[in-house]
């Protein structure tokens, strides 16, 4: 009986799809700066990884996504047509992303601003899920 329960639980786990994640890539049109985040979540936004670049300077929350200075997700919120993300390191703001999302012909479109203290601010356009 106990063995059957364990098998049922294991099969249930295999049948449940892992929460899907996809990269959202936000760039200034000339490529001067970018903010990419790995987004997932079912009812609310969940960010699993962040990569930020401006010129030769790169930050990455996960070395698996390439080299870069450390950065973590500070806070994020998606709702009411907005996506708001703050990236930090040791409590200090590294970058601030503010996006509006609206339905496009096929996929949603995202546009807004990226500010990196000490470096600059840019209008950005994003591609993603």
């Amino acid at each position: 009986m106990l063995r059957a329960s364990f098998i049922a639980l294991a099969l249930a786990g295999l049948a449940s799809p892992a929460n899907a994640t996809e990269w959202v890539n936000c760039t200034e049109p000339s490529g001067a700066a970018s903010f990419d985040f790995l987004a997932g979540g079912v009812d609310v936004l969940s960010i699993a990884a962040i990569t930020i670049s401006v010129g030769d300077k790169v930050w990455a929350s996960d070395v698996a996504n390439g080299p870069g200075d450390p950065v973590e997700l500070g806070q994020s919120f998606a709702g009411n047509g907005m996506i708001l993300v703050d990236a930090v390191h040791q409590g200090v703001l590294v970058a601030e992303l503010r996006l509006w999302q609206t339905p496009g012909a096929d996929l949603p479109i995202y546009g807004g601003t990226l500010a990196i203290p000490g470096f600059g601010a840019w209008s950005v356009s994003c591609s993603g899920p």
């Binding site: 996006l99 995202y110 500010a115 950005v124 356009s125």
Partner: protein, 134 residues
């Protein structure tokens, strides 16, 4: 007493006359291919009030003042601008429906002041826009 009152009145009138008329400037938002454009005439304190608008989408023009800026008539339905968030809905007064929605964030860092967001025209399309001014 009368001389004092007269002096005070004169001072007040001179102070009022010295106030500059509040300036107006255009806020201009365009798509990256320049085929879509929305302009808002901003005035008031910190340019937070809009008194006129024009819209250009895929070759068609709209304007709050067609006699000044040719196009079909539109109205500013609602607008909000606090220096960081800009929300504007333009209305087709004939159909009493939303003609266009503009949603923009503004931010600054060092010498950079930028505004970016999205323009959506229901039934037609949606575009990322970059804005300049005021």
């Amino acid at each position: 007493m009368t001389r004092t009152l007269l002096r005070l009145l004169t001072t007040a009138l001179l102070a009022i006359a010295a106030q500059p008329a509040l300036a107006t400037e255009w806020l201009d938002c365009t798509s990256f291919d320049f085929n879509q454009r929305i302009q808002l005439l901003a005035g008031g304190v910190d340019f937070h009030q809009f008194s006129a608008a024009t819209l250009y989408v895929n070759g068609a023009d709209w304007s709050t003042s067609p006699e000044a800026q040719p196009g079909q008539l539109l109205d500013i339905g609602q607008a909000f601008w606090d220096g960081k968030t800009l929300l504007v809905d333009l209305i087709d007064p004939a159909a009493q429906s939303v003609l266009a929605e503009l949603r923009v964030f503004a931010t600054s860092e060092g010498a950079d002041d930028v505004k970016g967001g999205v323009l959506r025209v229901p039934g037609t399309g949606a575009w990322v826009v970059v804005c300049t001014g005021p």
